[in-house]
Symmetry: C2
Subunit: 226 residues, 2 copies
DNA sequence: AGAAAAAGAGAGCACTGCTCTTGACGTGCT
DNA sequence: AGCACGTCAAGAGCAGTGCTCTCTTTTTCT
């Protein structure tokens, strides 16, 4: 059944298709990714590609998983490289690493964090790679053991977060600190998306400086110290 | 030239097309909006619609401007309704009003804040309606005259923001307060987008409670008081 | 009522995702 | 060696898209 040679050829072919699709996504965006065009660039018939990917969405899913893993690796590398540094610096470094990746991989960023593709539901396989980024935030924030402060007036009511699921990924922060970690990641995402998607043109002159200070400001609120 | 009757018919027709397109966008998303389908629903030929919109992007732009104005009106209404209330409550109310609009107009929200459409540049006409939302934030934050605090370590270097352009919209906040207002709007956007685009599934159980507390937390950092 | 202007219809081009059939190739088993 | 099987590529074809062109109908204005 599983002859070694064909298996190998098949894997190589799949990798080649994905690589080609990646460059097309980078050039014209994910929405207009066309199997025919991939085939044309590879000097093949479009129908041939359907042997490797049953439909366009499966190819898209493969790209999404790869993007999550790529960004996740960058985030984790930043966290690893900043061990021993002050917690606030670690947070800023992590955010900046994510920002750099996003800036040089705009379309892949849009692919995973942009508008969901209609009639496309992210399969199970994407949630594990997707968790690597918030996990990286937890690694820097969790190392700081910040002083407990209420999250919003009166603190967060129990039942707001799914603490059972979160503790697996984010470790043993208390609920309010966990909430604030999620808020920081959301805010970093918001800043980054506004910058990348052009909502800052005309207001923010130096996007990097603004970004660094904004993230640091959030970190200070969280209780991190330089 | 400008005959009164034809002008009127034309405006009515354009409105009808936009309305039809809006419902299609709400049903299947902006990416798959097709002029042919709009025509089909209106029991017309697709080519007839080209008399009113020279291409699909122009129709899309019209929908974008409408969405900005719709959301802007909601935001301004919230600001007007909360005059005299404590600043922190005003901020939370504004954020919640935006959230409600976003939840019941998912696809229009995605249209204006989601992944930019490839090969589509937002024309001049969109920036004025787009400014209404940050302007609404400024109206609530500006009324509070929060105590000055550095934005990030050492405060924001001059030249980071385009203060000339911002002061027109956001009024006379000092640079650090202006930066923090931008940060709050970015964060609200980030929270909202994560919720709407499904990045909170499995971690945030009660999205509204989390959202309210997160916004309030940001407001407290800004210096607002309840 | 008749001329002018606007709107609509329909065919057509080039493109898309996707399916189905047909023929060729390489591999492994007898 | 020969045969059968699984894999692969090609091509035709369906239904859909944006958009343009020409031609006809309707509406409006004088």
């Amino acid at each position: 059944m599983a002859s070694p040679k064909v298996e190998q050829n098949r894997a190589a072919k799949i990798a080649a298709i994905k690589q080609q699709a990646r460059t097309l996504v980078a050039e014209r965006g994910a929405a207009s990714l066309s199997l025919r065009e991939v085939a044309r660039v590879m000097e093949q018939t479009s129908s041939a590609l359907y042997r490797y990917f049953p439909n366009r969405d499966v190819l898209l899913t493969a790209l999404i998983v790869d993007a999550y893993n790529d960004l996740g690796a960058v985030a984790e590398a930043s966290v690893a490289a900043s061990i021993g540094h002050p917690p606030l610096d670690r947070l800023v470094a992590l955010a900046c690493a994510i920002r750099e990746w996003a800036r040089s991989n705009m379309h892949e960023y849009a692919l995973i964090f942009g508008t969901p593709i209609p009639n496309y539901v992210a399969p199970e396989a994407t949630i594990a790679p997707a968790a690597r980024i918030p996990c990286a935030f937890a690694a820097t924030l969790g190392s700081a053991t910040p002083p407990h402060r209420d999250f919003g007036p009166g603190g967060l009511p129990s039942g707001t977060l799914d603490l059972d699921a979160l503790s697996v990924v984010l470790g043993d922060l208390d609920p309010d600190a966990t909430a604030r970690a999620l808020l920081i990641w959301s805010s970093v995402f918001g800043l980054l998306t506004f910058e990348l998607f052009g909502h800052f043109v005309g207001s923010v002159e130096n996007a990097e400086t603004f970004f660094r200070h904004a993230v640091a400001d959030l970190g200070i609120q969280f209780g991190l110290e330089a």
